[in-house]
């Protein structure tokens, strides 16, 4: 009886000691890019309306009346009938290759398709029709970090296909093991860069016409008879005095890393990876730069309310040293923006203001609601923090709040900002037809 447990233990011990190696496996999901070339002819042919489909990689959101547009990154637009916010209904899917942004004036939808700007008549949202196209205006761009550029000599787009690959390596069980073949990635100066603007006040539109409303990550803006679009280093103006026939009007060079644009009153707020540019737009056909608010770090969306701009900075996935914060900037003197106060945040993305309530997307950390009446005590006035959602961009429509994240599209009743009530959700991967 006695030797049995002893032998057993001995066996356990010896086999154990033989393999006294720490075994550590690091698993990572890597974004892999493969170059692809798509011809303009092919791109232009494939613009068509298709049957509604499920959300996969939702991007920006745009609202016009009872209709809602959700961008499927690089693929096209989901058209959703939102006349009953409790039960949004997919109407159609517009297949627009290389689409990332949109804007709507009256019944005309403007969307980018790689290098082209397309105008679609959406009077019948189930059957949008292409009515105009300005070809070869955008020279390059990026989706999810994958850059594309226009190759003029062959009339094609040099794009990169993004794939996610899971790889597993054995490590030395230390916190930051050596990266196979990518040491230069560590501490690199790469940052996620977006600056965007939005506001509770609808941007001025041409008399007698109605514009939709975009989120704070938008690169398209409507003002008077112009459509403003920002590219990587410039601002492009399209004359839309005849909405169905947009015409390229002029290009203003700004600087590198332009991300977003927002017109507020007769000013244009242009966000870049290094700061925010303020342009005087009293002559809409010829915006003039007034000032630049320079950041040390990359910055993210901005909202403007009267004399205060709310700017967020976010560290990218690659830049752990960048700050995550919310800055309040005094813009009463537009030629001299001044910092009011900085507040630390977790990972801010899009934001929206319905004064005095500020909605702030914190990425995987959810959605925060602040009362910003006290400019020096914003952190003390956190009204609510919804943690269980992924929040990318948000549009406040007063009583309702639209929010999009990796896991889907949400609508909230924001009558009481302390207690947001979910009205509906369109989850990714499922169509709520």
């Amino acid at each position: 009886m006695r030797p049995t447990p002893l032998l057993l233990l001995f066996a356990v011990l010896t086999t154990g000691l033989w393999s006294c190696n720490d075994q550590c496996q690091e698993t990572r999901v890597v974004k892999q890019m493969t170059p692809v070339t798509v011809s303009l002819m092919e791109i232009r042919r494939s613009l068509k309306t298709e049957a509604p489909r499920a959300l996969e990689h939702p991007g920006k959101i745009y609202i016009k009346g009872n209709y809602l547009l959700i961008n499927e990154i690089k693929k096209g637009l989901h058209v959703i009938d939102n006349s009953n916010p409790a039960a949004p209904r997919f109407v159609s899917f517009i297949n627009i290759p290389g689409n990332g942004d949109m804007a709507v004036r009256d019944n005309i939808l403007y969307a980018d398709s790689y290098t082209d700007l397309v105008a679609l008549d959406i009077t019948d949202p189930t059957q949008p029709k292409e009515v105009g196209r300005v070809g070869e205006v955008f020279k390059n761009g990026q989706f999810e970090g994958a850059w594309w550029s226009y190759n003029e000599s062959i009339g094609a787009i040099n794009d990169q296909k993004v794939e996610y690959r899971t790889e597993t390596i054995s490590t030395n069980c230390e916190e930051n093991p050596v990266m196979p073949g990518m040491w230069w990635g560590i501490g690199g100066a790469w940052r996620m860069m977006d600056v965007a603007f939005s506001s509770s006040a609808a941007p001025a539109s041409a008399p007698g016409s109605s514009d939709g409303k975009g989120g704070s990550m938008a690169r398209f803006a409507l003002y008077n008879q112009f459509l403003y679009t920002v590219g990587q280093n410039n601002l492009h103006l399209f004359d839309i005095s005849n909405p169905a026939k947009p015409a390229s009007y002029s290009t203003v060079n700004i600087g590198w890393g332009i991300e977003t644009i927002f017109p507020y009153k007769d000013k244009l707020f242009i966000g870049s990876s290094t700061g925010m540019y303020i342009y005087d737009n009293s002559n809409p056909s010829d915006p003039k730069q007034l000032s630049v608010f320079q950041h040390m770090m990359a910055c993210d969306p901005v909202v403007v309310q009267d004399n205060v701009a709310y700017v967020t900075l976010r560290s990218g996935t690659t830049c752990r040293n960048a700050q995550n914060q919310l800055d309040l900037v005094d813009i009463s003197d537009l030629s001299r923006p001044r910092l009011i106060k900085s507040y630390p945040m977790q990972n801010p993305h899009g934001l929206s203001i319905n004064f005095p309530t500020l909605y702030l997307c914190e990425g995987q950390y959810g959605l925060k609601t602040f009362n910003v009446t006290d400019q020096f005590g914003v952190d003390k006035n956190l009204l609510s923090h919804m943690k269980e959602v992924d929040a990318y961009d948000v549009i406040s429509l007063g009583k309702t709040l639209l929010m999009v994240g990796k896991d889907g599209f949400y609508q909230f009743d924001a009558t009481n900002p302390r207690q947001l009530r979910q009205i509906s959700k369109i989850p990714v991967g499922k169509s709520a037809i």
Binding site: L6, F10, G16, L17, E26, K31, M179, G185
Partner: protein, 194 residues
Amino acid sequence: MKKLLSLFVVGVLTMGFATAQEGLFRRTYINHTELGGLFGRVKYRPYQGSDEVVENRLSLTLQTFNGLQLNPRLAAGLTTGLDWYTAALITPIAAGVRYDLTGKRNARLFATADAGYGLAWFHDDSEGYQTRGGMMLNPGLGLRLGRPEGAAFTITLSYKRQEASVTKPPLWDQTERYETRVYNRMCLRMGIAF
């Protein structure tokens, strides 16, 4: 693993109660506190295509077993402690037994086994990292030096398996990054029991 563990705990308890019936034996409180090292190695490739590198690992371990001497041979109780692995400070909480294999002599061989869960409560993560603990198993043999009734000095040699996992901040082209760890160590400890 979880099933096995609960079986072990139940087994320890029933064994204790079953054997506690025999003879005129009074249950006494027993403490066994030990300090030692966890010896191991790690093999890895520093970068793709390179030769394997072997490194030695030595971590400090501290543990204390508090239990009841259920019968002259068997003691069962709770083991807690601290294990300082290179990139994780783990606090195991485990069910433990000490079983005397050789009877009443001044130098006795005993078997020791602890099984439970290692927690990362006291581990201070770097920014962006999140370390979680995991299952822990620690069987071994020891030598107890001292009079049978009194306090004793112990030396134990055991095998320790500790699981852990870490969520790490993704690097520039990654969207997700995590590590699963299994610490396989030879464990040499010295301590006192009373």
